[in-house]
Amino acid sequence: MNFLLRSIAAVAMLLVAPMSAIAAPPALPGDSVYQVEASVVDQDGRAYAWQALRGRPQVVTMFYAHCHLMCPLIIASGKSLQGSLDPRQREELGFVSITLDPARDTPAALLEVAQMHRLDDHWRLLRPGDADVRTLAAALGVRYRAQPDGTFNHTSVLILLDRDGRIVARSEVTDLTPDPRFVATVREYLTGASAPGSN
């Protein structure tokens, strides 16, 4: 009996511990895309670990700057999504576009993309280390292939990540505007996620 009570207490402690541990972040969920290790540099030349994006919901895409067909669509689709959010939701959500072409997409090239598309400071355009592009693509379920002419075949997708990097929803980009169902999912998620006491 005592043993049973102690066990229950121990389990309760385990359940409570992650919520009360403010100093140390709770363990990363096993299915978080932040489980892969990768280093990135953003359009402002700041270098950090991929895992540093943890902490706020993000909409993630992979693209490359020299792409003239799909990639402007991907960014336009993200901007359209951003435009459909209310101010509080806009504040909450980050946008992350990761280049498939780190050889050409230097931070300066990415900054140019950000300026050309008038992306606000919720957007981060990331250049992974050469060896990390495939690893990130694998974690995000993005397939790509470099073509001899310098272009890339790749999956065009918007992926909603929760604060801890779990994939909440994904949507293939087919147009300048995102799938309305995906927009609804993002809005719903942000409303739920920003409500007091929830995560």
Binding site: R145, Q147, V173
Partner: protein, 246 residues
């Protein structure tokens, strides 16, 4: 005689201290790949690179897990490996190629030794060779033997199987091998047949076909790899590493 000298050189290349950690330099070249993409003739240009002379062994992977405990069977996150990960641990034969490893685990291993995966083209280029020819694929008998790839009857799984002309062993062994770009060997199967689907989802064309219908072994290998998720593991799927040469 010529074959014998080449073989001796290959042996030397495989064991010489210059090929540190068991890598050999592969001279690049143009190559007819069995795998074709939409609008290409299968011709590939492979740049010079270095490849491991054999697959990573169970012993080597065990050492990696000891120094990188986040890759232990009971600690690896579900994103990075399925429940079959290292299911055959400990190996009966520590010198055999490690299997039951996910793409992510293999990727991390190669990075940990300052290497990378070979890409498919590189892998196929090296695998086309036998002990005396850099491209043995026109030999129907040799090609027929590759049908046993991935099984215990594979030609390189036999005792005393010789290295190929590059000094590389086990390319046609009992275990298949991951490659870096395995995920793009075929288009995403579940999107095939969707009207305009490919054009919209990819920047460019993606269709894949095979240059040589007789090359059943390659087709089987590509089909198998394409069916994998990067977290998947199989009892007969291992890997080797490669390096770019400056």
């Amino acid at each position: 005689m010529l074959a014998a000298s080449i073989f001796a050189v290959a042996l030397l290349a495989g064991t010489s201290p210059a090929a540190s950690r068991g890598f050999v330099e592969i001279t690049g070249g143009t190559f007819q790949s069995t795998v074709r993409y939409d609008g290409d003739d299968g011709k590939r240009s492979v740049a010079a690179f270095a490849i491991a002379t054999r697959a990573v062994t169970a012993r080597e992977f065990d050492e990696f897990v000891r120094t990188h405990p986040q890759w232990a069977r009971d600690r690896v996150p579900s994103l990075l490996a399925d429940s079959g990960y290292l299911a055959n641990w400990p190996h009966a034969n520590a010198d055999a190629p490690v299997t039951h490893v996910s793409w992510f685990a293999a990727d991390a291993y190669c990075k940990s030794i300052g290497a990378r995966f070979p890409d498919w083209d590189e892998w196929e280029y090296v695998a086309a060779a036998d002990a005396t020819r850099s491209d043995a694929r026109s030999d129907a008998v040799w090609r027929g033997r590759t049908f046993q790839d991935g099984t215990p009857r594979a030609m390189d799984a036999r005792d005393g199987a010789s290295a190929n002309i590059h000094g590389v062993s086990g390319m046609h062994g009992a275990a298949w091998e991951w490659v870096g770009d395995y995920a793009t060997l075929m288009g995403d199967a579940d999107k095939r047949g969707v009207e305009n689907g490919d054009r919209l989802q990819f920047c460019g064309a993606t269709g894949l076909s095979f240059a040589n219908r007789d090359d059943y072994a390659t087709l089987k290998r590509v089909a198998l790899l394409s069916a994998m998720e990067p977290r998947s593991t199989l009892g007969n799927l291992g890997f080797r590493c490669a390096r770019s040469t400056p």
